[in-house]
Each structure stands twice: as C-alpha cells, then as structure tokens.
C-alpha cells in the first residue's frame, strides 16, 4: 500500500534529487556531473540486486562483483565482436544493441548465480561469505588469464552501445536509460519484498527453523533470491561497462564486492532506497574527499565505522526511522 509515510517521502526526494542533478548540470553545461549521477544510478542498481540477497535474505554475498563483472564483460565482448565481425560462439555474432546485451547479461549472471548459489547456499555464516568470495576470485583470475579479451588490461568499448531511438553517446540520454532501469529494479525489489516469496525470504533470514517448521524449504527460496539478485547486479554491470566504455578485471575484484556491501550498509540494509542512498553518499565522498586527498577511503572507513556503531539503519534509517514490517 503506497502511503505518504516518512520513508516514502525520503525515497521520493532521493528519486527526484537523482534526476534533478543531471538536468541542472546539463543546463549549466557540466556533463561531468551527469556522469557522476549515472555512476550513482548504476551502482545503486547493482547494490539493489545485492540488497535482495543480503538485505531481505540475510545472505552476505562477498562475491557479487562476479555478476557485476560478468555483465560488464558481456557488454564488452559482444561489442568487440560486433566491431570485428567475428562470431562469438556457435556462429552467433556480436551486437551493439543494449537490450540484447542486457538480456544476455541477465542470462549469463543468472546461470552463473544458479551454479554459485547452489553450492554456496549449502553453507551459512562466515563460510558462505568465504565461498562466495572464492567463486568470485575464480572468475576474476579467469578474466585476467584470458588474453583474447584483454586479460589484465581489460577491454575497451570504442563506441557506446545503441538503444533504439536514443542517442546513447549523449550523457543525459544515457543517464535516463540507467535511471529508468534503476527505478524498474527498485520496483521489482519492492514487489518481491511485499510478495509471498518475499515473506518466505525475510522469514528465512529471521528464523530458518521456523520456516522449515511451517513446511517451506528455505534452500529453494534462498537460491531463487540469489539468482534474481545476481541478474540485477549483472545488468548493472553491463551498464557500467557502457558508462566507462571500458571493462576490466577490476569490476570482478573482491574490492568491488566489498564496495557493494558498503553501499548497502551506508544506505540502510534491506531498505528499498538504501542502495541508492548509499551509492549517492559513496560517489559524493569519492568525488568531494577524493578531490582533497588521495586517502579519501580512510575517511570513508571512519564514516562506515560511525554508521555501523551508531546508525544501523544507514542513511535511510537516520532520515526515516526504523523499518516497518507490517
């Protein structure tokens, strides 16, 4: 039930703010700020994916960079083959159509997510964290040692991929593409959270034994959530590659996985707009503090420490109060 409670107002304000910044920047002729806002939208989308597993399901995946990077490599590889004209696999060629890339990103990260989840979800707690990290590192080293697609150096996308009717090379147009997908992603998160599936997923986080005792198998619920989570993060990766027109193994690194977790904690774990709030904070810190000192991550660490100690609900929790579970 959409009500004008405090959290919904905060969310609405964030959504408007995110669209206002690039519009104003465009008016002032400052495309750099449009790129920053696009970065916020894409990171928020990736973290919204992770939030489904981590926030709702309590599954602390330390390997979501794998899906982020896979989405990125799908964009890079398909674009490269489209440029060279060589088939990718089974005689199928590359493409520069974003929507094809998105579909392939979703499929690839979904399939890999199914494999990683099916094994990792047999463990829990710190073992789950470690095994997801291990899988992501496997993908990372695979990418590094595969010279066909740039290896350690990564892969450039010479011309940003296309979307019918939109000139994606214009920063503002590309921002809108990312913004719409972010809002769709957040909408999907909201639907799932309110659904029967979401109820079972959140209950599995709170009390696994109780869920089994009413006759629901937590493993299936978690695995499904993990796959959907991987898909959302994967499509964000494809957008990220198109934003930078570059994809490299750093998108697959464990630092990236950690960054996604940090975004969620900064913004508010399990909160609908937590990932967006966290991504906005992160990118603003990165830009503002990063302009002053190379050691900006030291200050980010301090802020994260304060959030964990004093503001468990993150930015959304500070602004909108405790989460309500109906």
């Amino acid at each position: 039930m959409p009500m004008l409670n405090r959290e919904n107002l905060v969310n609405l304000a964030l959504a408007i703010l995110l669209i206002a910044v690039p519009l104003i920047a465009n008016g002032l002729g400052q495309p750099f700020y449009i790129t920053l806002a696009t970065r916020v939208a894409i990171l928020a989308l990736a973290a919204t994916g992770l939030n489904l597993a981590l926030g709702l399901g309590g599954l602390v995946s330390f390997g979501h960079a794998a899906f982020f990077g896979l989405g990125g490599y799908v964009a890079g590889i398909l674009a490269a083959h489209n440029f060279s004209g060589e088939p990718v696999i089974f005689g199928l060629g590359g493409t520069n159509q974003m929507w094809v890339i998105w579909v392939v990103s979703i499929l690839v990260s979904g399939i890999v997510g199914l494999a990683i989840g099916a094994i990792s979800l047999r463990t829990s707690g710190v073992y789950f964290i470690m095994i997801t990290l291990a899988f992501a590192q496997m993908v990372y080293y695979f990418a590094i040692s595969w010279p066909a697609y740039g290896g350690q150096d990564g892969l450039s996308i010479l011309v940003r991929n296309q979307f019918p009717g939109i000139s994606t090379m214009r920063p503002l147009s590309f921002f809108f593409v990312c913004y719409v997908i972010l809002i769709l992603g957040i909408g999907l998160f909201a639907l799932i959270r309110a659904s029967r599936f979401g109820a079972a997923l959140q209950a599995s986080r709170q009390n696994e034994v109780r869920v089994a005792t009413v006759g629901i198998r937590p493993f299936r619920i978690r695995l499904t959530a993990f796959v959907i989570s991987a898909m959302l993060t994967g499509i964000a990766g494809a957008l990220f590659a198109d934003l930078n027109r570059f994809v490299s193994p750093s998108m697959l690194s464990w630092q990236m996985s950690g960054e996604l977790i940090v975004l969620i904690i900064l913004g508010g774990t399990g909160r609908l707009f937590g990932p967006l709030a966290g991504a906005a904070l992160y990118v603003v810190f990165e830009y503002a503090l990063g302009g002053m000192t190379e050691r900006w991550q030291f200050f980010l660490g301090l802020i994260l420490l304060l959030v964990v100690l004093f503001a468990r609900g993150g930015l959304i929790g500070l602004l909108a109060g405790k989460a309500k579970h109906g």
């Binding site: 029967r196 109820a199 079972a200 006759g215 579970h325």
Partner: protein
Amino acid sequence: MVEPVLEISGLVKNFGALRATDGVTLDLRPGEIHALIGPNGAGKSTLIHQICGTLRQDAGTIRFVGRDVGALSVAERAQLGLGRTFQVSSIAPDFSALRNVMLAVQAKQGSSFRFFKPVMLDHSLIDTAMAMLERVNLGARARIPAAELSHGERRQLEIAMALALGSKAFLLDEPMAGMGPEGSKSLTRFLDTLRHEAPILLVEHDMDAVFALADRISVLVYGRVIATGTVEEIRRDPTVRTAYLGDHA
C-alpha cells in the same frame, strides 16, 4: 482399532557410544493427548528431533498419517501436517504476529513462489491468519511485532501457526515451560479443547498439566520407554515411581 496418526517403532539413535534413543515404540491415536515424560537427559529432545526430521534415526520407523516419513525433510513432514511448537518459542521476530501466521497459511496453500501480489492485499491469507489468531485469543495483538509479545503470547502464536497448517497432529515440546501458574492453567484449558482438532503428543515436565490432560502417558528413561498407560496406571506403576515420579504421585 483405529489407525494411529503417528506410529513410532523400534527407533534407535546413537551419539557415539551413547544410545540416546533405545528402541522406542509409541503411537498417537486420533483425539488423544499422549504425554511423554521423563527426567532430564532421558532423550525426550532427541526423540522429538527424530519425529520432526531435524535428526535422522539410526534404526526403526516413523509412520505419520499412514506414510513412512523417516526419510523426509522437516519441511516435507510439516506439509503432511505435523504441527510443532518449541521448548523455546520459535518465531520470526521482525514480523508481526499476523505475518507470522500468514507465513503458515501461505505454506499450507502451497505457494511461496509468487513474486508480484503483495501479501498485505491478499485477503485469503489475512483472513485465515486472523481467524487462527482469534482462536488462540491473540486477535487484539495481531499487529504487534512478534519480538514484543510476552512469553505466553509467543506460545499462543506458535499454536496459531500450527493450527494454520491444518495440522493432523500436534507435537508440543514443553509448552508450560516458563509460564506462570495462571498461564499454565489457561493453557491447560486451551490444550484440552485443542485435542478435538488433532491429537497431541505432549512433552511436559509440569505434572499437574500432564495428569490433567493426558489420556495416556509414556515414561522415557535412558532412551527407553519404561511404561505406557493411563494416568492411573502410570501413577501406580512401581518402576515409574522409583525411576521418576518419586513422591510427587
């Protein structure tokens, strides 16, 4: 004779050299309350874990509603209608009482893979769950987060969830534990009516409740059932008196 709802025979469970369940045979018949008593360490918990499926027996069979359930998971046994409450209440603390019961209702309806319809707009869930809460006198507390419910209320909530499952048997693990004298009395009255819903296997330390409620009692000592009988038979049984009841009877 009526077919028992739950039938356990020759159940054995070893932990290393310790035989925690030693050839236990007992059954639960329609409409009855069958109490399982025994001193601490007698193996009551181990037995319950095997009936529910959290532990796998080493030998013996467990039949429930006419099926061999010995190899089924916890969730599968629950789907067949094994309703359980825990010694320490097991609930989803962040959810309201209502949403806890709604979870059981959706499980009963067999549909947790629905992704789009909001549960709070789903009257087939809400109305059934409310009805169950009313039955355990928790209707007024439906919107309270389960974490904020009192000890006794959580017990009632667990029972409401077991009711929502359409349980064919209730397995109540020390429901009186931690309840005050008033709470125990009212819970005893409630359980007395619950037996008409489905038979109850009642594991309990509170002898007043056991003697007031049980149709039959089984006494478990060192993993073995040393006696099964009516309240009177158990009260008179000399081995039970020395092993367990002491001067309480």
